[in-house]
């Protein structure tokens, strides 16, 4: 089964009509993944013995549909590595809440997707398991950190994948690969079983070619959870109800800072075309300002790295994961296991975080960053007083060449400037394909008020219906 022309609805029909059985669908999917993997390297682990749920209930549209899971989401009995050497043999003994919920909906987990190590990166090049490739051009990055999930969906390995988004890790690879990806409101989806990078920013998201498919899956994974005290107990709406609507009178904010000098002109043009379409269809376009945008990158790196430095201390070689050989004493076990087990980018973030939290730096860095975060969030609150959504480009450029930025952390970090704010403010945000620039996809970003994913689905679905980007096939896989 190659999924380039499929969506959940079409697959469900085939299962329901008996054109294919769920077993066959699973086997076909595994076969297709294996054929494409030499080109894409989108997966870390393929679940060879994957089987559809027993007693399949085909009144449920998701039943029997295969899905890929980013490898920082814990799957009971399926190796989970966070793309790190330090966990490359780690076998979980419980399921993340999202996994339990997908299983309850009878989706079939077929593989664990490649990513940046511990989700730290914007190109998936920091993976211990090799760099995944962009299906539109195999010499280019998939983006990150959910690069494997994005490439797998864009390349037709699966119809859907879960990712996680701490500073743009779902939206940026979605943009780079020409698919839809949504980071829900912080607290919309339980983080139980998501390997923590930055606890106050991390959120699990959905990546699919079609907007409707993400709405269907988010319907299933969202909601209260007794294991996570930061997850909301609000009623989860049926997100598919937001689809098929027009955009008349919708108040759309366009921040000037998202069209600054760092953003490529062709990207700006394509995004403006989409905004024009919204305007032509009755949306009210308001030019606005997010004055603290220039501080989001440093602010993010302080907060995310500080939390990460603490979250990643548990990888110490004692209870699980990689333990270095030839150690003389306990300190040796710690230092060698961690120094050998983590890659450079992870070490940089741990170091930055330890520095920002250390005595003498806390007020100047962590505390100041937490205050600036308040100001960033306030910028958004103010805009949402008079607007329903904020739109702009997802990334300043299209996917870059593999190897071009990895040696320059600051250049890599600057890439996240348009996506980070949503995590800082805890608001939902998504990227929907806008079109191509030089044959590479461009993402249109939509942000909304906390717990208003419906407005995002409404706009994304409208854009999708208008530009029909899903009809385009990735060019990198053509022989």
């Amino acid at each position: 089964m190659n999924y380039l022309n499929e969506n959940i609805e079409s697959l469900h029909k085939k299962l329901k009509n008996g054109d294919i059985t769920a077993e066959e669908l699973t086997q076909d999917t595994l076969k297709n993944i294996k054929e494409l993997e030499p080109k894409l390297n989108a997966m870390i682990t393929v679940v060879d013995d994957a089987k559809p749920a027993e007693d399949l209930d085909l009144s449920n549209e998701l039943a029997g549909i295969p899905i890929a899971i980013k490898d920082n989401i814990i799957t009971n009995g399926i190796r989970t590595t966070a793309a790190s050497h330090i966990l490359d043999n780690y076998m979980p003994v419980y399921d993340a809440t999202v996994i339990s919920k997908l299983k309850k909906a009878q989706m079939t987990i077929v593989s664990k997707a490649n990513m940046d190590e511990f989700a730290m990166g914007s190109s998936s090049e920091t993976s211990y398991f090799g760099t995944p490739k962009n299906p539109w051009d195999l010499t280019k990055v998939t983006g990150g950190s959910s690069g494997g999930s994005a490439a797998a969906v864009a390349g037709g390995e699966v119809v859907a994948a879960l990712g996680s988004d701490t500073g743009g890790s779902v939206r940026q690879p979605a943009a780079f690969n020409g698919i839809f990806g949504i980071k829900p409101t912080y607290g919309r989806v339980s983080r139980w079983g998501l390997i923590a990078f930055s606890s106050s920013l991390d959120q699990i998201g959905v990546m699919t070619k079609r907007v409707a498919d993400s709405a269907k899956i988010l319907n299933v994974i969202a909601g209260a959870d007794d294991h996570d005290s930061t997850v909301s107990t609000r009623q989860v709406p049926d997100f598919t109800k937001a689809l098929g609507k027009d955009v008349k009178s919708l108040r759309v904010a366009v921040p000037e800072e998202y069209f600054g000098e760092g953003v490529e002109q062709e990207v700006k043009d394509l995004i403006n075309e989409q905004i024009k379409v919204l305007e032509d269809n009755g949306a009210i376009i308001n030019k606005v300002s997010l004055p603290h945008t220039k501080y989001v990158v440093p602010d993010y790196y302080i907060i995310a790295s500080s939390e990460a430095s603490s979250n990643l201390q548990r990888y110490d070689g004692i209870r699980y994961g990689y333990r270095a050989k030839d150690t003389k004493n306990l300190l040796d076990v710690y230092v060698k296991s961690r120094s050998e087990g983590f890659g450079d980018e992870v070490k940089r973030r741990i170091m930055l975080g330890s520095f920002a939290l250390s005595a003498g730096s806390y007020d100047r860095f962590f505390r100041q960053a937490a205050k600036v975060r308040t100001l960033i969030a306030r910028d958004f609150e103010k805009i949402f007083e008079d607007n329903d959504v904020i739109v702009g480009p997802t990334t300043p450029t299209t996917a870059f060449k593999i190897g071009s930025s990895i040696q320059d952390p600051l250049k890599m970090y600057a890439n996240d400037i348009l996506t980070i704010s949503a995590n800082m403010a805890g608001i939902p945000a998504a990227s929907v394909p806008a079109g191509l620039v030089d044959g590479m996809p461009v993402g249109f970003q939509i942000m909304a008020k906390r717990f208003d994913e419906e407005s995002i689905f409404q706009v994304a679905d409208f854009i999708e219906r208008n530009n029909k980007f899903y009809e385009k096939k990735p060019t990198g896989l053509e022989d």
Partner: protein
């Protein structure tokens, strides 16, 4: 030169919950290694903490009992350090916004009352346990990981080891009477760290402090502080400087030994725990908890002395533990005479506990039993001597005293129509005793009472026998 000491204490109490503070693993002691753990205790990737409500409830009880101000909003923080018994390599504690601040307790030392401040108290998680082997390895057991702790940090208000001792004794008693903790040092449910510095009298700024951790008993606290006062004085008098350090008390020599010199405070990189939402502690909840707070030892003592007319010393003996005080209250509630109950508790029961080296909660005698025994003495059903036999039986076997007395036919013989002829016969049989009595030898009566007791196998009511005998002898 005169020196002044400044002493501060940090006391950890294990809070008495059924499950751990952030995970539902059971809290238990002596289970095989790592059996009372789950993925949260192991800090497996992806796990999250979830706060146990009862930990707050018990913490609030102690805060109320020590007059501390409970913060309306608290938040957990992370204290980062690596150690094998600390699986996340951070401890979840409350650093910036603790449970409560500014409490106090009152102690009496050297005949004077003194108020000692409590700086703050916060809830946090305990670590697992490392056992050090002789072969270059250590062995980690995570059963204790996540057991809830309340840390009570005093103000540096204590000026000598006696005050520290009094503070600890009082604090333990207060916490024990809330029921929030078992407060057993030997089992680790109460742990004491001390800080002491000295400075020449008249000097304003405090001297360099020395810390002592994990002291085994209140006596060790007192002795180690006294030793440190002397040691630090000698260091200063000989022109030296006290080092910022951690020392250990050596029980065998009674001295303190340098463990580690500190170059400054350890860098724990505290920051707010992002995995736990803030906790708002409402006044309604505090009031609700206050309503369930058991009567304080202070109030109990007042009741014992003022209402029951018990001697202060006896009241203090009863109040040594909450269990003994509870036992006493229940005995009185079951209808026992308050003074007799105090007597029996402090002599008979305590004697038994000392002899057997057990706790009052371990014995089979119930407060209802003791009340029954006391009632039977009072209404003359049994003699004090028999009562002791009954007591022995009940405390050892849990036998119901009333039933035992009836079954064994121990009911005291007070019937004059039975005892009268018996007395007449004994007096007839012992003319020498009658002679002695006439000659003013009081011992004669004792001998004759003994004879009656022998005849009745101890069941005769001695009071009645005495009366009858006196009458009989007067008539001869």
């Amino acid at each position: 030169m005169n020196f002044k000491s400044t002493i501060g204490l940090e006391v950890h109490f294990e809070l008495k919950t059924k499950s751990k503070i952030f995970s539902p693993s059971p809290v238990s002691y002596g289970a095989p290694a790592n059996t009372e753990t789950n993925v949260i205790d192991w800090a497996m990737p992806g796990v999250l903490p979830m706060v146990n409500k009862d930990v707050y409830r018990l913490g609030i009880m102690v805060a109320l009992a020590t007059h501390a101000h409970i913060l309306p909003t608290t938040h957990f923080d992370r204290k980062n350090y690596y150690y094998p018994d600390n699986p996340k390599a951070y401890q979840i504690t409350q650093f910036f916004q603790p449970l409560a601040r500014d409490g106090y307790i009152e102690v009496e030392v050297h005949g004077k009352k003194k108020r000692i401040g409590i700086h703050e108290m916060h809830i946090e998680e305990d670590a697992g346990k490392n056992t050090h082997g002789a072969n270059g390895y250590s062995y980690v057991d995570l059963n204790r990981q996540g057991v809830p702790l309340l840390e009570v940090v005093s103000e540096p208000d204590m000026e000598d080891p006696e005050e520290a001792y009094a503070y600890l004794t009082k604090l333990r008693q207060i916490v024990q009477f809330t029921g929030a903790s078992d407060v057993k040092m030997e089992e680790g449910s109460m742990r004491v760290d001390t800080n002491i510095s000295i400075r020449p009298a008249g000097q304003k700024e405090l001297g360099t402090k020395v810390e002592m951790k994990n002291l085994n008993s209140f006596d060790h606290v007192r002795r180690s502080l006294a030793y440190e006062e002397q040691r630090q004085q000698q260091v200063l008098l000989s022109g030296g400087k006290v080092q910022l350090s951690t020392r250990r008390f050596d029980e065998a020599t009674g001295k303190t030994v340098l463990e580690r010199v500190k170059e400054g405070d350890a860098d724990y990189r505290y920051f707010p725990e992002p995995d736990i939402a803030p906790d708002h502690i409402s006044q309604e909840w505090i009031d609700e908890i206050a309503a369930t707070l058991p009567e304080s030892p202070f109030d109990r003592r007042k009741r014992y002395v003022d209402e029951y007319g018990i001697k202060e010393y006896d009241a203090d003996v009863i109040l040594q533990t909450k269990e003994s005080s509870d036992f006493y209250d229940e005995t009185v509630k079951a209808g026992a005479d308050a003074k007799l109950a105090a007597n029996w508790l402090n002599t008979q029961i305590n004697g038994y506990l000392n002899e057997k080296q057990v706790d009052i909660t371990d014995i089979k005698l119930t407060p209802a039993h003791l009340a029954e025994i006391i009632k039977m003495i009072k209404d003359g059903t049994i003699s004090s001597k028999i009562a002791k036999k009954v007591f022995q039986e009940s405390i050892e076997n849990g036998t119901d005293p009333k039933k035992y007395v009836e079954d064994k036919g121990m009911v005291q013989l007070s019937d004059v129509s039975v005892l009268g002829p018996m007395v007449t016969k004994i007096v007839d049989d012992n003319p020498q005793s009658v002679e002695d009595f006439k000659n003013g030898k009081d011992r004669a009566i004792g001998f004759l009472v003994g004879q009656i007791m022998k005849e009745t196998r101890g069941k005769a009511n001695p009071k009645v026998v005495n009366q009858l005998l006196n009458k009989e002898l007067q008539n001869r």
